[in-house]
Subunit: 278 residues, 2 copies
């Protein structure tokens, strides 16, 4: 049996070079008898202002991997910022070959995950990126992404995503920034998991106002809140924490509050497939 | 003739106490023979976490002034954050009396301006708030808001708003956060002016992706960019300035780029009525 082949692309920010050493080494250790082949597209290391290469270069790299029959999965190198700049060019040029692959990433990658899921792709998941290997405990995060890509391993999944319910997961700010655009997927009946990093509480509150005020989002089965980490200072103190804020907007919007989700910008981030993925 | 009466409310952050001294003094100086009466609702000075009072208190204050026949105008004390938390409660309870008034504010107040304009209110304007008197040169800003409220003075207007074209103006982040919600007004055929303060360039870029990707926004007559001030550091350097970013998204979306607008978070901020206001 041919090795499982994963193509890594960076539609947003540039990946650190050491990731391309550490991730294959970990994969060889985790899968000694069937080591997956992990191919880092050269675009991952490119640089153009804020981005891992110019918009065209990032779009072409994504398409080259997604439309290549020899790859089983497209893995996002990292988040950062920039996927929204390539999503239109990418979605319009994906072939049927691209539909058979798994796609895994989170944070800024949510722009592309949303568009892929909206386009009917079956194996789209919110989960660790390659760059997560640089976090403390990052081997576990990367191992989880590999386990889902290679084996659809249930233990890699966020617990709620192990059941029969439809699920979806997003960074709060990213989801806010795709509402009302052609990227917005139909999340009716889905358990929607949300996480955040590096935002002040008033921004989390404002983005949750936005998300829960959208008529289509109001058709979700409910909202679960992942971890909100590295919250920046709020002046004056906001007076509520992230769970109180999320509960507030669920109550105001009539969306069911379903508790906490095991996702976030950290090494414990679990995999959440879009749809009835499990 | 009775004095022009302006009611000041703070649906977002708390107003500084000295504003209530300085603004009436300036008004007396500018209009010695017909000094407007400027009434600061006590709620302007209230405090509740991030906000000028709890959500209910802010909504009640806004309604008390808007629905009071004795007031000719509702003036926003300042921006900050919080209007989205009261807008639903406010819009549902405004009476016909409220429709005859002028409403002036900007920044976070854009949430309420959008909802009022969408509800068909005729005299809604993006313009200086009371708190702007604390800026260097702030007397000119406040004088402009007064001149528009009291006399609809053309010299208070942003130059493009002096003509026959429909106009509207928003803070970029605020407009982004109301897209796809019941607050989003129909801006078809409007010259849309956008300004920003205190955001990193990648955030401005992301919000302009969002705004220009919305199918209804694409029906505007064109976009003009106001000032983007106090831009926070971008790591790495973004590689484009705010005008290049705005031109990029106009070109990508097919929205006409109409140049720069004379609005911003500063003392030079001109008044932009919503609709064919001039």
């Amino acid at each position: 049996m041919a090795a499982y082949r994963i193509g890594v692309v960076a539609p947003a920010s540039r990946m650190s070079a050491e990731v391309a050493q550490k991730v294959p080494a970990l994969a060889a250790q985790l899968y000694p008898d069937r080591t997956p082949e992990i191919v880092f597209h050269p675009q991952c290391f490119a640089s153009h202002g804020h981005f891992a290469g110019a918009d065209d270069a990032r779009a072409e790299a994504f398409l080259a991997v997604a439309n290549d029959e020899s790859f089983d999965a497209v893995w996002f190198a990292r988040g950062g910022y920039g996927s929204c700049r390539v999503v239109e060019a990418v979605i319009g040029r994906l072939t049927p070959v691209a539909r058979r692959k798994a796609y895994v990433g989170y944070s800024d990658a949510g722009m592309l995950l949303a568009a892929l899921y909206r386009a009917g792709f079956a194996s789209v998941a919110h989960g660790p990126v390659a760059q997560d290997i640089l976090r403390g405990g990052g081997d576990a995060a990367v191992g989880r992404a590999l386990a889902w890509m290679i084996d659809r391993a249930p233990q890699a999944l966020e617990p709620t995503a192990r059941g029969a319910r439809k699920t979806a997961a997003f960074n709060i700010t990213v989801l806010s920034h795709l509402l009302g655009t052609p990227l917005q997927p139909d999340l009716a009946g889905h358990v929607l998991m949300l996480e955040e990093v590096g935002e002040a509480m008033y921004r989390i509150d404002r983005a949750l106002f936005h998300i829960t005020s959208n008529p289509d989002i109001r058709r979700v089965a409910g909202i679960m809140l992942g971890r909100c980490s590295a919250i920046t200072p709020n002046d004056p103190d906001f007076g509520m924490n992230e769970e109180e804020v999320a509960r507030h907007w669920c109550a105001r919007s009539g969306i069911a509050w379903l508790g906490r989700a095991d996702i976030g910008h950290d090494a414990d981030n679990k995999v959440v497939p879009f749809g009835a993925g499990a």
